[in-house]
């Protein structure tokens, strides 16, 4: 049953119909088959209630925050500062790209936005300094995906909203794995740089220059402290952190950096609105499908399959991971969340799998999905900015996909890496 539904979904979506509408039509179709024409009357109420959660409110705010910072060129400011410190080391520019990506990830909830900013800022300097083209593309794409693992994270927010898990806990849980992945990426690029001597290191920056750039960047560096620290130390909720993040970003870019002008604000709001609308519209329509999934009792039939195969929790997690990798190749991330999580969640609870840990595994899978062909939004973004054939970007990303799988394996094998910090909250 679950399989039939997913196949039907994929077939309908393949026609190119907007995904939200496609999910809505299938949901409605199933409901009419089961309940008759009465089901039609629930379209309005269901769509209206879909956004009736204070958590969802955080999404447009995080989008707005990253749009303000992007327009104001904050990534560039960060990149300049980080490069002053590590640019002269072996693979220094690559290390700088990873570190800036990680910092960028802590001020945006989106990997695509993160990868796009990094591609615009770091690609040219790396290529100019003789870095291998494939390595450059792959590194920017892979480190860009940190955007959804390091908090804030829109997929984690959605996961929390669907599963009724604490977003504060999910965000905190993403932090340490995010740092581990950052270190793995740095190690990889340093090893590649040492074995491949084609690149030209940057001249060493003076201490005065380093401090000047860092002081200039410090205004932006405060932001992750406010957002993540504010949530971790319980000063405010995720939604409130997003609101304060927007306020601080406005003050920083309008008054301190002055790289954003008042007249830019309308288009900043317009673009944030269209991006948020795209997400929230899809989210709302998927709730119609969610009803159908419930009434069909798909989760229950899935549970009976698990029972009949006598699947252990570990086997179940592994099976889900394989399925997510496959879905992640052909679907875009938000759709995967809304198709899969509502179906799987009850089974997870029944198997006693920690939902916070699983949420992080899920998001790592979505990082992989963002860079696997044929549908990989980060691949598209990097290709668009590089103006090179997508095959070149794909071959550059391949070793990093292997690295991401290794990382995923680590998080499955050692749940403590994920769980220690969220469990430590005072």
């Amino acid at each position: 049953m679950a399989l039939t539904l997913i196949v039907v979904l994929l077939l309908v979506l393949a026609t190119g119909i907007p995904i939200g509408i496609g999910l809505g039509i299938i949901g409605l179709g199933v409901a009419v088959l089961l309940d008759g024409p009465h089901a039609l009357s629930m379209l309005g109420p269901t769509l209206y209630a879909a956004n009736n959660s204070f958590l969802i409110t955080a999404i447009p705010l995080f989008v707005l925050m990253s749009e303000i910072l992007r327009r104001a060129g904050v990534t560039e400011i960060l990149f300049e500062a980080v490069t002053r410190w590590v640019g002269h080391l072996p693979g220094g520019l690559g290390v700088s790209t990873v570190v800036t990506s990680a910092i960028g990830a802590s001020i945006t909830g989106s990997s695509i936005a993160n990868a796009a900013s990094m591609a615009m800022v770091a690609m040219k300097p790396m290529l100019d300094r003789g870095y291998d083209r494939r390595l450059t593309f792959g590194l920017i794409a892979a480190s860009g995906t940190l955007g959804i693992l390091i908090p804030p994270s829109i997929p984690l927010l959605l996961y929390g909203a669907i599963t009724d898990q604490s977003v504060g806990k999910l965000f905190t849980a993403g932090l340490v794995p995010g740092i581990v992945l950052t270190v793995m990426l740095i190690a990889y690029v340093v090893v590649r740089a040492i074995t491949d001597s084609k690149y030209i290191p940057l001249p060493k920056a003076s201490w005065a220059d380093r401090w000047a750039q860092t002081r200039y960047a410090s205004g932006a560096l405060v932001l992750p402290v406010i957002v993540i620290g504010g949530i971790y130390f319980g000063i405010f909720t995720a939604t409130e952190a997003a609101g304060i993040g927007v306020l601080y970003s406005l003050i920083l870019t309008l008054l301190i950096y002055r790289t954003l002008k008042l007249r830019d604000l309308f288009s900043v709001f317009m673009d944030s609105m269209t991006t948020s609308c795209m997400i929230l519209f899809l989210v709302s329509c998927s709730v119609i499908l969610g009803h159908a999934v419930t009434t069909l009792q798909i989760s229950q039939s899935l549970m009976s399959i698990i029972e009949s195969f006598d699947l252990s929790a570990t086997m179940f997690v592994l099976a889900v991971m394989v399925m997510l990798v496959i879905l992640g190749c052909i679907l875009e991330v938000i759709s995967v969340i809304y198709i899969v999580v509502p179906i799987l969640y009850p089974a997870m609870v029944a198997l006693d799998i920690d939902p916070i840990w699983f949420g992080i595994l899920f998001v790592i899978n979505m990082e992989i999905a963002l860079v696997t062909p044929p549908v990989g939004m980060v691949l598209y973004v990097v290709t668009g900015i590089a103006k090179r054939p997508i095959s070149e970007v794909i071959s550059g990303v391949m070793p990093f996909i292997a690295l991401l799988f290794l990382f995923l394996g680590l998080m499955i094998a050692f749940p403590a890496i994920v769980m220690t910090l969220p469990e430590s909250i005072r």
């Binding site: 393949a14 809505g24 447009p60 989106s110 609105m273 991006t275 899809l282 938000i334």
Partner: protein
């Protein structure tokens, strides 16, 4: 004639989009003000939570028509991008018409929802006790706009209306 119709639809969805932007501003102001009111003045507001949720609903739906005009809704183009332009446009027009029918159903359901809400005398759970049919009206209005946009796009795909360069947003931030 058809071209004028397409333009008028464009203006309508732009007007709705401006309302959605107001919704975004409303979310920002309510959430931020709530934090400030609580930490600085030591008391919570009675309107913040409700207004931020109405703002989110405005963003989710009122902006949808305009986003469609920008071709900004997520679509799977894995298959369609490999079709010949003729076939692609034909299939595109067909899916647009199906989508318009779906929107019409939501429109109808939304109108009866708003009526029912008045019969139930439903008011918000918060202290403002706002009659819920007011924010709920966003659903029928938005899906009417979205339906019109789908119809207009099908005309474009059938070659009946030619649009000059679509108003593409500078370089939008993508969602995830």
């Amino acid at each position: 004639m058809l071209k004028l119709l397409d333009r008028v639809i464009g203006w309508i969805s732009l007007a709705a989009a401006v309302l959605a932007i107001a919704g975004l501003a409303c979310v920002f102001v309510s959430v931020t003000w709530e934090v400030i009111a609580r930490s600085v003045f030591g008391h919570a507001t009675i309107w913040s939570n409700e207004f931020s949720i109405y703002g989110v609903i405005a963003i989710a739906f009122l902006g949808a028509g305009y986003v469609l005009r920008l071709n900004g809704h997520l679509e799977v183009d894995l298959i369609t991008s490999r079709l010949s332009p003729r076939l692609r446009n034909g299939l595109g027009a067909a899916t647009d018409l199906v989508a318009a029918v779906f929107c019409a159903m939501v429109l109808w359901s939304g109108i009866s929802f708003v009526e029912l809400s008045q019969i139930l005398g439903a008011v918000s759970v918060g202290e403002l006790r706002i009659p819920l049919w007011i924010p709920q009206s966003i659903i029928p209005v938005s899906f009417c706009v979205l339906m019109l946009e789908f119809l207009a796009r099908s005309l474009v795909r059938l070659g009946l209306v030619h649009r000059e360069a679509a108003p593409v947003a500078a370089d939008p931030v993508l969602p995830v």
